[in-house]
Subunit: 183 residues, 2 copies
Amino acid sequence: MESKGGSSGGSGSKCGRWNPTAEQVEVLSSLFRSGLRTPTTDQIQRISNHLSFYGNIESKNVFYWFQNHKARDRHNKRRKLSTASFHHHHHHRTNNKDLNVLHSQSLAEMYQVSEPDNNNNRVIETLELFPMNSFGESESEKLRVHENDENGGDHDDDDTMFACTLMGEQMEYPPLDLRLSFL
Amino acid sequence: MESKGGSSGGSGSKCGRWNPTAEQVEVLSSLFRSGLRTPTTDQIQRISNHLSFYGNIESKNVFYWFQNHKARDRHNKRRKLSTASFHHHHHHRTNNKDLNVLHSQSLAEMYQVSEPDNNNNRVIETLELFPMNSFGESESEKLRVHENDENGGDHDDDDTMFACTLMGEQMEYPPLDLRLSFL
DNA sequence: CTACTATGAATGAAGG
DNA sequence: CCTTCATTCATAGTAG
């Protein structure tokens, strides 16, 4: 945590990629521990709003964080579960990658949910713990616009001559100029 | 510049997942920019046919591409309303009211579907620019989208009380300070 | 400086 | 159409 001074997402973000601060990760992890796995847009908004207190953050980051965290959590669990059970040393895939973890415990900012003898499926999809005033959310659907063009002859008269008849001709790669002409 | 794995759709198709080439993406993006959002089976067929020149591709891929692109384009606008907080002072959340007021603009702006370039942009559903319409589609059954417009209000109104009883057991609080109060 | 790891970001594919 | 899963790419951070 010492080397982060400056280029972390907290202050001088280098705008290349969001780098969450320790506080942000803690909050996110807490939410994850609480069972939140796939927050709704509303929740993402609020979380992002609050986490911006600790540094720059976008809703997109929160969204991706949960997506990644859930996916990786599940992925790791599945792998761990398959190894520890039976002692049939069946080579579980010669993965050149991930030789894996028997040491990573020190900087595990996660929570280590491994509770083998506790089968609590405390995985809540949305975690309703927000005393939010329920707006008429349904009426938002009505704002759905239909951009139907019922105007009869609304042809955009682009005089696009259909030059290339794309059917199985061995011409070389067009210099990326290819627009809609093939249609 | 292909992917590192060399599994680009152009040459070494790895048959796992379609990896579009740059040219394919270019064409698809052009179509999208032209206003094509939901191509019909007919269009999909033609697009796919043309794009197969640049590499292996199936109609399915085109179909999914438009679906994803449209959905993400839309979600992107929603998520972009993140908190552009730079350096906040300790002014988080004035407690004007004790309950439920801290999210004034959370979801009031959500469904603004007004395109940023609403007047100039022609967002057409099907983009009729195919002067020729030959045979019927081969197997359009597979790509047939469901026009099932069922969207009933689903309200599970249970926000009367706190839902901290996640699974009926007491959840242990995080070792650190619980910052979830913003929710 | 180079290698590896953790993880943010992106997107294809599918389900409902 | 909307949401979610799975796989992959890209990169910051750190160790050797």
